[in-house]
Amino acid sequence: MSSGSGFGDEKGGSSSVGEPEYGHDPASGGIFSSDYKRHDDLKEMLDSNKDSLKLEAMKRIVAMIARGKNASDLFPAVVKNVACKNIEVKKLVYVYLVRYAEEQQDLALLSISTFQRGLKDPNQLIRASALRVLSSIRVTIIVPIMMLAIKEAASDMSPYVRKTAAHAIPKLYSLDPEQKDQLIEVIEKLLADKTTLVAGSVVMAFEEVCPERIDLIHKNYRKLCNLLIDVEEWGQVVIINMLTRYARTQFLNPNVNESLLEESGEKAFYGSDDEEGKEEKAEAAALAKRKPYVMDPDHRLLLRNTKPLLQSRNAAVVMAVAQLYFHLAPKAEVGVIAKALVRLMRSHSEVQYVVLQNVATMTIKRRGMFEPYLKSFYIRSTDPTQIKILKLEVLTNLANETNISTILREFQTYIKSMDKDFVAATIQAIGRCATNIGEVRDTCLNGLVQLLSNRDELVVAESVVVIKKLLQMQPEQHSDIIKHMAKLTDNIQVPMARASILWLIGEYCEHVPKIAPDVLRKMAKTFTNEEDIVKLQIINLAAKLYLTNSKQTKLLTQYVLNLAKYDQNYDIRDRARFIRQLIVPTDKSGALSKYAKKLFLALKPAPVLESPFKDRDHFQLGSLSHLLNAKAGGYQELPDWPETAPDPSVRNVEVKDSVPEWTKCSSREKRKEKKVEKPFYSDSEEESGPTESADSESDSASGSGSGSESEESGSGSESEESREESESEQEDKEDEEDKRKKKKKTDRGKVKAPAVESPESEESSGAEEKNRAQKVKGRRSGSESESEEEEESESESSRSESESESESESDTDAKKKKKAPVTKPPPKQAKKESKKEKKEMSLLDLDDFEPTPSPQVTPVNNFLSSSLVTDLEGLSLTDTVMAPTTIAPSGSVKTYELLHRITGEGLGVEYCFSRQPFSPDAHMVAVQIMFTNNTNAETKNLHVEDPKLQSGMRIKEFPEIELLPPGEMVTVVMGIDFCDSTQAANFQLCTHIRKFFVSIQPPVGELMMPVFMTENEFKKEQGQLMGMNEISEKLTLGEKCQNEHGIVQRVTSAANVSRVPCGSDKECRFAGKTVSSGILVLVTVATKEERAAQLTVNCEKMVIGTMLVKDILQALTQ
């Protein structure tokens, strides 16, 4: 490159003139006398062969462009440098070109060949920037060239170039909309791209070119959901907004069927018989469509994958997720967004402004969501006025009977503010609170009347206007206020306030018969000096008085009407003429005058003071249209929920009809597939590998390699697995055929409802854990992380694995699993379930509770009695899971009362021992607590406080329940370590207003958990627990439990123990261990002739043993 010595040559002159200009504003033209000359100079520099001179010239030209000065006459000189080697010069030339190409189309064409060459450059940055510039040149002639370039770039090796191609699509579309069809093809292709880099840009292109082609999304839906967290933030916003719309067309309204949930209980039994399982399922799936709502697993996937983004640093992303939840989530889950939105309020004031607008809309629909954050909306004196007014709006929307006194107190402070617009808005807000909340209407009215004596006229005027509106609701009771206001006419000058007072007096002149004529008299005097609105009201007042009290006011009215007749304003003249004809009876006056009284003194409905944000939510929240409350160009309506869900199978990535078959057969009928399947992991990796290194695979691999969490790698694996599915299909099918014949399964899976899909995925994910170790070994080292992924597995991947797992399962297990009810929670819950779904109680957001596999395995197949009991129990549990936050206990679980609804002032609390391992702490007993709000007000901030425990006891509180709407029920799980004693755990249950002292006392049988052991182990253990540790008792069995089944049922319901196989049919054995210290508890019931029996309990802790004997005895003898 040239060096400093270049200044010596013939161009030196011009450059040295240019030198001192460096960094200065070239447009100021201090040195050059005319534009012409200056440009001449620049041209000369551009023609030089020194890059430094060229650069200098280009910098000055760009500076001109930046200032908005015209530099178009330099076009020929600049365009010559498009092929310049110096990259900065080149970039600046690009900037120039894009700016002026439209004006100088012919000359711009000269540069095209350079870009075409650039498109083939080995450097991806150059390829990309060539495409960027080429597509930014708005010259119609080159449309075919652009089209070609875009198509080529769409299959470029480099994802960066593909991203640029996605950006180029809308550019070309805006230049020539005729290309739409071809562009859609490119979009379709790019939508299938697996890299996060491309995803955001192509969805952007989709939104601009063909937002109506929702069908293009189906196949990519799951991929987009899974990639989302790794897409750059701007792409996330676009994708989330698009997916919101998509979900509205594809899924059912989660809030539509809430009341029907209870009915689903009976369905628990559908799965009870293995052979019938399938039929039942199909039926139930159809049923599910009509009756209880079951969330599509894909719908759940979207909600689950967007939730972490509430933690984004980017306000736009947070807002996008918030609107998604607002529009798509079940009512009980929407609450999560409130906290994030409140956090955004600390951001820049522009962000606050937008967020507050959206919060205002949300608070109208879901007030409860923001109530806990009321104080975050308190107004600071330093807030800009527009923010203050929006906060005021939110506060008004949040006001209800319980918080109104606090809010009014705040409002009182605001009235003292120096910001007059804000004060006026506050008074309006008080008015609205008064209309909305009947209890405080009088308080507000009195407060406002007090304001009438305020020193500030504006305050007074605004109060008058608001009082007028309030009085209209119940004028009879407030004639004194009207009188008071009548007096104000002497002082208040604000026209609107005067007009309001006059209207009030006219309207209710009968309540103030003495004052009204006097006011009219005064007004008649000042009539000519009044504002127009006041004049109109004076005429109205006169007319009304004339009709009610013509004796006193006849002359006054005539006088006023005469004055009005000659007024400058024609409205007033017209009004006067009209009224005179109407009220003053003359010969000519028609039939109308008879009705004059009815016309003027008709009962007027009170105005409804409602929020300007009412019903704004028909616009998609967070959108420009919502903010402006008017449809902006290019706004896509948020569609209504469909009546019936469109076919969910369209989102399956494989060939359509084979998928459900595959899924259906996977877990049970195909057990031999594992060996075949495994290699596909590696296969698929190899296959997609060659495209290039930076593709999705490497993304996910390196992501997980460098320790990134599975959210990253999960995204990659999803697509891999889907591919693998389609590949393995062939083999699968063959095997399938046989199996199907054997098992006589009719193929009903082709149109699978979403509800049917989930059980399998659930099963598989459970079994996965088992197989994990095995699998990891089987795989290439590169995919180490996949074991992690599986925990995260979405329905898709788990489905692919389900077959492999089933091999290792025993027959019974598989059967039992089939009994899983038809309506299952979507994969979100499924993913973390243990394989024993009968124990399944984990719910939507109880992610903390990860049930570990229960040790209670019943290995003997004919051991139906006890396992059936527990099964059924489990089934009903899982079934009710549909209600998003409630776990209704099944009938066989005993519930205890924690707080009666009378003592709890409407809050009823029950608890039961769910007998589920409490995962955060294995030494704790899981206690499931059910809150029912029987009041008609919301209960908030339910939490535990101040536990009073015996020494050694510990308590793990449930997460605070922020809100319990009236009539709703919510269930939570807490853990208590009772230290193997039946001492009660005392604590306080707090709501936002009250505290209740409660205590939980466990029956001794709940302090243990089942242990599986063989007969020999049992005998061995029993042998060690003789003497003092053995307690025996003779008993006579109760009438209903003479057979084995009855005994097992009684014992297992009295104590959380599991049955131990036993050779003799005279004996039933049970084993368990205490939860806290893991001490064995062995129970034996030996039956004898008649109804006599002997109960033996072996336990190291005699207290437990004694108490347990007592409890079981009672259970058996009843």
């Binding site: 640029t164 950006h167 790794d230 956090r343 820049h348 937008v354 527009q386 402070t413 990134s708």
Partner: protein, 428 residues
Amino acid sequence: MIHSLFLVNSSGDIFLEKHWKSVVSRSVCDYFFEAQERASEPENVPPVIPTPHHYLISVLRHRIYFVAVIQSEVPPLFVIEFLHRVVDTFQDYFGLCTEAAIKDNVVVVYELLEEMLDNGFPLATESNILKELIKPPTILRTVVNTITGSTNVGEQLPTGQLSVVPWRRTGVKYTNNEAYFDVVEEIDAIIDKSGSTITAEIQGVIDACVKLTGMPDLTLSFMNPRLLDDVSFHPCVRFKRWEAERILSFIPPDGNFRLLSYHVSSQNLVAIPVYVKHNITFREGSSQGRFELTLGPKQTMGKAVESVLVSSQLPRGVLNANLNASQGTYTFDPVTKLLTWDVGKINPQKLPSLKGSMSLQAGASKPDENPTIIIQFKIQQMAISGLKVNRLDMYGEKYKPFKGIKYMTKAGKFQTGMQRPHVSCVKA
């Protein structure tokens, strides 16, 4: 998406324009100027202004309006957030984001804007990537470039664009490897005249300055992570790990960045470190008023309260104030009626006070006696929420980095003085 961008200074001149699609005439800004005129204060210009053919979305930073022109539906926050990102980038590049700085670096600004948006859609906004594409101007580099003819523009695609850690550039090398973390907490509070807290929240951030060689993988754990109620992260933080273990695990960007921001809203956790006692009285009919104000520390855990600045908007009727400060200096602007008192450090032994008289406009009615008092302060070496970093570990690299953590508490929007009426007052 974003069609054009105009930069408008406080006197209403457009000093920079940039178009990403076809050119929009700058006359579109007239609608903005109209709105600006209507607004009483600069910050009251509505951020979104509809015009017949376009929508103007603007942000105000450093007394410059960044006005984006939009033609069709786009989430307003998307644009606002992007504009703020632009400002942040400028600040990062030029140190200051003033009109002069932008004018001086107009070419770099233009190059940056060109890279940040393509066809109005954000392309590269990560500062680490941008810095590889366009090197920030320094005096040294300017000199070198003039001599060697090399450029400020990178020739290769920044590696970050394609990697899984797009926020970090590769090949970072330092001789001194160091990682500094600043835990800065701001207290937002509204305190009643009687000293009871109406609302108080803590906004905290952890800003990091990480200069480490290679690809370090850091974990930062807290003694009391439960305090962090509501958090937002830099994209580098692994969310799942946080959810599961409450540990921050991340591969940091190179240089300065904001690791996370958090929010502590539970009021009983928020200790208020200073108190204000004030008494402002006016007598009816007299043209004199009394002014008394005393400050004192409370709940500061033995740390000094520094850089205290008190300001108050006195009632309009006040003509002048004749006060006596026991320490520091005070000023009273008779035009804006703004009283500011630069206190400095609070000495717990000798509490600072400001006392004196105010003269009132003759004949004016008795002004309101409870003006808002806004307080600013700083407390070093303490995070008021009690948040404590437990340890910082580095994996993936062999060297031993130098680690440092600093705590600081500041007043955010801290206001006191207003009298809250009792409920009974409302009931009249």
